[in-house]
């Protein structure tokens, strides 16, 4: 036998047994589960014990009339939400209003039409069901919102309170849309001074331009060393990592920094100390070899002389290396300030050429310099050091009979000569494109064996870059494999000392 699940549980409260029986049998026939009582108080108790889905309530009853029963039910949490339909012979408007005021949802007048009663019951049951559905959906939604809010708060807290500075910027402009407290305290800026501004607008130091061009390549970045110029003008060393994130369909760059200023300071201090400790024994070593090589302390065999020369050559290389390390460290840490003065570029170019002429002659390289007479506000010694370094590299990496050329050209901006570009071109083996940037880093040579074969220290270009940047200029290289390379330096002609 098929089990039929009752459609709904209906409580009928009426003091007239005939009405009660009629309604009961009629509803039962339609599949409703019916409970019928003749007294209001019994009805209330029944509804409290087991709340029905709907109540049909007679208005005219002794002891407690329908309105009173309704008010009782509406005052109780357990029964408040049960829809109540009044059934009464009274049919004035004020009776009906009273019924609705008491909390009824509908009003049926006797004598009633069966079909009308059923239709109204159906309507109110459906309404109630929809109401319940709405309520539970609402609760579910509220719960979801609470959970989401919780998750959001959790991640917002991680972002806000991360000990690592974090920033989110647009691509490709590099405009800040979100930064955390650590970022602000590291950079020294206030939130208002950062949000909406681009990396270029904030003047975050000389590494910004290179960083912006890397931002446009859409490649993630891992631990890029970046010298950050803070609001107060101090420089902090940071390691920067970047990846892309999508927010509302837009792609942004998520940057996380790591302040390594203190670590760098210790590192530099260490380099300085080591350099000093290395020089003292080298003084004795170099001196001993020099004195030996005079022959005044006894003559050496040819092989003995050869061994001595090896000793001298390598001691000299060690000294160069220590000098370069110390030089670089001091320029980087700002311990050496550029002593800028008005100077003629042509003289500096000539001086550098003169210094390198003998090296070029030894390697059978033709050195061609086209000096440009133009006044420059710069540290002459440091500019000569830079040019010498570039010429020395060009000569080192050229074959015999090749030409190394140095020339310069003034650059104009708004009809005014604002800067000068000095270029050193060789016909050497060239530099692979992927190394054109890194060669300006410390100990980055195209070929690791270069340091031994060419006598370089791997620090020359890093020193050049630091000197050029201290002059607010820039240095870069262009190259074609097996055709040659050109190193360019651009220097502003007249910049105010910082």
């Amino acid at each position: 036998m098929e089990m039929t699940v009752p459609k709904a549980d209906i409580l009928v409260i009426d003091d007239t047994p005939e009405n009660l029986n009629l309604l009961s049998s009629m509803l039962s026939d339609r599949g409703y589960k019916v409970r019928s009582v003749t007294k209001g108080s019994t009805g209330i108790r029944g509804a409290q014990t087991m709340p029905p889905d709907l109540i049909l309530l007679d208005v005219n009853m002794p002891q407690m009339n329908g309105y009173e029963v309704c008010e009782h039910l509406k005052a109780d949490d357990r029964t408040r939400d049960i829809p109540i339909i009044f059934i009464s012979a009274l049919e004035t408007v004020s009776d009906k209003v009273k019924a609705f005021q008491a909390g009824g949802v509908d009003y049926i007048t006797k004598p009633f039409q069966i079909e009308e009663v059923l239709a109204r019951i159906e309507t109110h049951l459906t309404l109630r069901q929809l109401q319940n559905q709405l309520r539970s959906q609402n609760e579910q939604l509220q719960q979801e919102i609470r959970e989401r809010k919780h998750a959001e708060e959790k991640f917002a807290a991680i972002f806000r309170q991360s000990p690592n500075p974090i920033a989110i910027v647009t691509i490709p402009e590099g405009r800040f849309i979100e930064v955390n407290f650590s970022f602000l305290s590291m950079s020294g800026y206030t939130l208002d001074a950062v949000i909406g501004y681009s990396i270029a607008q904030l003047h975050l130091g000389h590494d910004s331009a290179a960083f912006l061009s890397r931002l446009q390549t859409n490649e993630p970045i891992h631990n890029l060393e970046f010298e950050l110029l803070t609001r107060s003008g101090s420089v902090k060393s940071i390691l920067l990592s970047l990846d892309h994130i999508e927010i509302n369909g837009e792609t942004y760059a998520l940057m996380i920094a790591n302040d390594i200023t203190e670590r760098k300071r210790l590192e530099n201090e260490f380099i300085s100390l080591v350099s000093h400790e290395l020089r003292t024994p080298l003084t004795s070593m170099m001196g001993s070899l020099d004195l030996l090589s005079t022959g005044q302390l006894g003559s050496l065999t040819e092989q003995g002389q050869q061994v001595l020369n090896i000793g001298v050559k390598n001691a000299e290389r060690l000294i160069r290396l220590i000098n370069d390390i110390l030089d670089l460290e001091r320029i980087r840490s700002g311990k050496i300030t550029m002593s800028k003065q008005s100077c003629n570029l042509a003289e500096l170019m000539a001086q550098a050429t003169e210094e390198m002429q003998s090296m070029a002659d030894r390697s059978c390289i033709q050195l061609i310099t086209e000096p440009l007479p133009i006044l420059l506000y710069a540290d002459p010694d440091r500019i000569v050091q830079t040019l010498t370094n570039l010429l020395s590299n060009a000569i080192k990496f050229s074959e015999a009979e090749a030409i190394v050329r140095m020339h310069a050209q003034p650059l104009t901006l708004n009809n005014r000569t604002s800067s000068v570009r000095i270029s050193v071109t060789d016909q050497g083996r060239g530099i692979p494109a992927n190394q054109l940037q890194t060669i300006f880093e410390r100990f980055q040579q195209v070929d690791a064996s270069d340091a031994r074969q060419k006598g370089g220290t791997g620090l020359g270009l890093a020193i050049c870059r630091n000197i050029v940047e201290q002059h607010h200029g820039k240095i870069w290289a262009e190259s074609m494999i097996s055709k040659g390379s050109t190193f360019h330096i651009e220097l502003p002609l007249n910049v105010v000392l910082q």
């Binding site: 000093h276 003084t283 001196g287 050496i336």
Partner: protein, 124 residues
């Protein structure tokens, strides 16, 4: 003309090399001291033609030694040349305030040391 030079340096080997260099390179007489205090005493006693003074020494460093040398009437007119391993050539400006004739960086070439001294002190 034969000169007498005082070398003040706490490093035995550096003293020995400089001594040999000046003797072999120019035939000068060399006096040595391994500390600032000893250097001052020898300078006062022998009145050398010049003093090569190491900057970094324990106890009394080059600066302190120089200060004292410049205080005593018997030593104050002796030219002093500072020697340092901690400095780059480009930093010589930072010694402009000191009353020194010159600053030499280490490592130095022993055989040309005498000529360097002659150059900076403009000895004929």
């Amino acid at each position: 003309m034969k000169k007498q030079i005082l070398i003040v340096d706490d490093e035995d080997d550096v003293r020995a090399i400089a001594t040999l260099g000046l003797q072999m390179g120019a035939g000068w007489t060399v006096l040595t001291a391994s500390s600032g205090a000893e250097g001052i005493a020898i300078a006062a006693q022998h009145q050398p033609d010049a003093i090569l003074l190491d900057l970094m020494m324990p106890d009394m460093d080059g600066r302190a030694t120089l200060q004292q040398l410049k205080q005593y009437p018997v030593t104050q007119s002796i030219p002093v040349i500072l020697m340092t391993a901690k400095m780059q050539l480009s930093e010589q400006r930072s010694f402009n305030d000191l009353e020194v004739a010159a600053v030499f960086t280490k490592p130095f070439r022993p055989l040309t040391l005498a000529q360097q001294i002659i150059d900076v002190l403009t000895w004929v």
